[in-house]
Symmetry: C3
Subunit: 472 residues, 3 copies
Amino acid sequence: MSEEVKPESVSLCPLGTAAAPEPELLCIFGTGDLGRSLGQRLLQSGYRVVYGSRRPHSCGPLPQGTQVMSHAEAAQSASLVFICIHRENYDFLETLAPQLMGKVLVDVSNNLKKNLYPEANAEYLQRLIPGAHVVKAFNTLSAWALQNGPSDANRQVYLCGNSAEAKQAVAETSTKLGFTVLDRGSLSAARELEDFPLQLFPEWRLPLRLAFGLTVVLFIYVVIRDVIYAYVVQGKDISFRIMVSLANRVFPVVSLIMLSLCYLPGVIAGFLQLYRGTKYRRFPDWLDRWMLCRKQLGLLALAFAFLHVLYTLIIPIRYYVRYKIGESTISKMRENRTSVFDTTTAWRSDSYYAMGILGFGVYLLLGITSLPSVSNALSWREFNFIQSKLGYLTLFLCTFHTYLYGWSKFLYPSSYKWYTPPAYMLSLVLPSAVMVLKLLLLLPCVDRTLTRIRQGWERTDPEDVSKKLLLT
Amino acid sequence: MSEEVKPESVSLCPLGTAAAPEPELLCIFGTGDLGRSLGQRLLQSGYRVVYGSRRPHSCGPLPQGTQVMSHAEAAQSASLVFICIHRENYDFLETLAPQLMGKVLVDVSNNLKKNLYPEANAEYLQRLIPGAHVVKAFNTLSAWALQNGPSDANRQVYLCGNSAEAKQAVAETSTKLGFTVLDRGSLSAARELEDFPLQLFPEWRLPLRLAFGLTVVLFIYVVIRDVIYAYVVQGKDISFRIMVSLANRVFPVVSLIMLSLCYLPGVIAGFLQLYRGTKYRRFPDWLDRWMLCRKQLGLLALAFAFLHVLYTLIIPIRYYVRYKIGESTISKMRENRTSVFDTTTAWRSDSYYAMGILGFGVYLLLGITSLPSVSNALSWREFNFIQSKLGYLTLFLCTFHTYLYGWSKFLYPSSYKWYTPPAYMLSLVLPSAVMVLKLLLLLPCVDRTLTRIRQGWERTDPEDVSKKLLLT
Amino acid sequence: MSEEVKPESVSLCPLGTAAAPEPELLCIFGTGDLGRSLGQRLLQSGYRVVYGSRRPHSCGPLPQGTQVMSHAEAAQSASLVFICIHRENYDFLETLAPQLMGKVLVDVSNNLKKNLYPEANAEYLQRLIPGAHVVKAFNTLSAWALQNGPSDANRQVYLCGNSAEAKQAVAETSTKLGFTVLDRGSLSAARELEDFPLQLFPEWRLPLRLAFGLTVVLFIYVVIRDVIYAYVVQGKDISFRIMVSLANRVFPVVSLIMLSLCYLPGVIAGFLQLYRGTKYRRFPDWLDRWMLCRKQLGLLALAFAFLHVLYTLIIPIRYYVRYKIGESTISKMRENRTSVFDTTTAWRSDSYYAMGILGFGVYLLLGITSLPSVSNALSWREFNFIQSKLGYLTLFLCTFHTYLYGWSKFLYPSSYKWYTPPAYMLSLVLPSAVMVLKLLLLLPCVDRTLTRIRQGWERTDPEDVSKKLLLT
């Protein structure tokens, strides 16, 4: 508001351009859910809205304050038209080409599947009405997000189109609706935008497959070592143990392996940078992809740890466990044996549980801080502290927990049925290696070099001095 | 920044209107918490601020860089005045009517209760100073949100007023403060806006009442079947079982019933659309309301499931359980009985626990993805996948868990004390029905028709062809 | 949208300034991660971008559509230059002083540690190029946030600088990028902004220290009372109990004390306001600071409660517990004792567990609603209801849980080893006091006075009547 506005005068209109006695009029083709939501939101943001419909007189409830007319009339009344129609019905728009000449057409449509049509909906629309300026936009937002306003990840409107002016007009409207605009270039990007809402956890696929593969392989491994071994060697059927005992042997192993896979790429990257003496060369592709799915690896590991906790806590109410404890008490009684309380075992078993609980606690904390709203509220240094320092603490606690579980079992030949090690031993290899490598990187001399490299210093490349100028 | 700015020149000033050597001046009446927070935020966003106060010389600490003067003086210096005063003290503003003539008055006030006054605060203000342009705005934000800036749901500023120009002026300021503006129409909407901050979980009421009702009814049911039955028929007092055993019988039943109530309306809606052959007719009101509270139903069901888990896990440390196990071991010993290990029971009980844990795990995942920041980060297809596919998986696992719990008990007449079925049987009715109905909807022929209907196809209405054009 | 787009008319262009045939050009010095991310984001938001580099022909991959040139050339082509260079390399910029004359320089740099240099980076830059207008901005955002767009807490851009015009130019760009701008005043605030990303949980320090101190002191206390007492008086070594039994005695005590410390300052503030008869006098500093860390106190208390829950649930699988139960069954058998089932004990122990579980459940709910994205979605009244009403319910349930745990133990002298009370008794003092004080504040007469004070009424200050006018 400017100083010129005199308190006594009635004209307010303090805004940049001339007084705007009437808000801008926009047109929406289509009166479905999306058209209605969009219209309501536009109204609330101060626009006037007119709908174009094939049956202007019987098109159901529309937001109060809007008008409905035929497509042709509606198109002529506004310079920006939202096309809220299914792609299958675009063909009739060809007949409106004269009225849509020079207009900005906003294609908001999505498809039900990828690659359903040879060309993107927006490109098809442009081909039908070559005289109009087609902009692809808003298609990543649901009717719900349009009606209720932007929030977090739903704040971004991606748009693309061939006319810069048309894109700017759509960008202005989006901004006024409270969205942030991201320009994805020319209309040839439309297919990419149309594929966005059809994505199904692309970044989760690799970690999920890995988790599934590990689980299956380990399950088979423990079934062979336990159930089949018992059946073949001892002639006993202990297959009932599959549901809980064996599952609870697989889950913690998968969890620990995946947790260490979370931290392994960081360590590898460190050694690679040390070896190369620079941080300006790209990592190999596999390492890049691995580093990008660390969060997902960690969260899956947490899920397996969670299952391990619950499977452990129900142990004492299991029929099998109760039966065994009862029988052992009775047989002790009958044989008049007295068992001696072993303080070392008490220490070991209690430490084992304590480490597990503390490890799970820190782990949960890591999981909570990876919630978008929590991690967004952290400063970079705080996020780094949690994901790195607390992450390695988790890894240490969980590995120590597993070592305490194993204790001296690795000494007894009976542990190696059919010459195979128990599953928990397999799970210790990776985390132990990660921790040893990490400790090497923390040695003062190594750490100093690595820190310098990460600040932009390069070892052997004298003509590349200017690179040091770049901020990391 | 505009093109006119020449790199060498010093004048920057690229912004819409003429060079703004001095930022705009706004006025705030009232120096309380809200007035101070608002003033600070306005300052930080580049405005100049002047306070109007009855005691300009003794009104406590104000943000640095602001001025304080009498109400009359302050009013004359700016064209936009924020009224940060309690409604009870509005009457004195009447004396300032000449100075406030033609000004934009922003009413930010709230009441402590609904319907405290016959008219909305903003309407009262407009009546007191008919010559001013009253705009209701900012009242849904706390002083805290005003001071610390917008975040998520606190980003929206609702406003209403009779003057479009006045509303636009306030909208400009809100936008500059980082808020998104939603215009709610004329000043008659002020009461609605003033009721917003007084809402207390309106969408949770129905689900909470339902959960409470179910819990009470089922508690009475199990108390009668267990405690009173034992007292009347067997003459035993087992009332101590109320606190944990009976509660743990009620919680899972309530949880499972509420979970199936979550998915029932979707199934009903599907059948309704199939029957009507169109998706363009509105659902009955009760179904609409039911569908709107599915999220709340699901979260309450999760809460009950959580209680069920904890109540189950403490079973082995309960005094009663320890006593019973000890006694049974001793009596077995005395009577020299040997119990035979039953592999079927072991399988059944372990499967029962495994299903329960897995069900609870997927359930928790559903709960986590319903956190606003998580669900906002999902694409529509991802959200749909989780809430629908994983939702039905949860329902299946939990129902299967309950069937395994029941096993063959339904065959024994002793289960039907006083001819009533056990509570767990009651809980199986709804989820089983929901799953059967859902399976019917998934039959290829039914599913194909339903998908076409949901894409806009209509069965029997030849003159309504144009509806197919609407995007869903 | 520009004037050139002719629908059939020329005027599309409802937007403020004149047609913008070419987007604005911005310059970035430095082609590191941050420079690249910033460039990409600027491109996507519709700017043209030119990079300044020392080696324009070998500076690695830059965003498509940008140009690279020498620093001098780049500087001349745009009026706004982002300095994405490490402070250590600022000195070379001095040679560019003529080209940078009158330009807006945006300093986005951060340091690795606090107080590394005598002056802020931005002030140093200003000193090097006195003819430019230095604005500190964007430094609180990570390269990641710049590339992926604003979200939640990462939406705010803090800026400071001596030229209002330069700040406004940067503010415009920030807004177009989707960020909210907060002006922190002149360039002397730069140091403060540069310290922001180096903060490490400042608001968590006090609560963390408190929790750590309490834990250590109480651990020593219970070790002395249990392990050392047993060793000295009874000559037994029960040190193995440290890992789980004693830890599980310390955690709930710390949790309950910290939970009551959450609610104590509110009660104290109430009494202070009652005593002073006004709410317009500031609280003492210690009370202010205490009230500001209530959320952190509460979350730490929840973490301890969580550990307590897990430590409790693993009780029945501990070696020590299984041994003891087995032995007690055998000895009962041998001595032919029969223990009588005690209904009171059953009631007490079950109620004790039930209270604990319910308390933990409500507690978790409090924790969930303190997640930023959840609390942002609540109205002020809802947030208040949860944090206050449910908070006190939690405190009551947990305190009651502890009373039930203690039961009549306080009557037996054997509880007071070495004349010291058990730890759980110590934990009851504070919560009991808080609840009694809160009840006093809820007495109708007291409550009425306090409500009036909080609405702005003052008791004894007749000349201060105008204060009543201020909104609270």
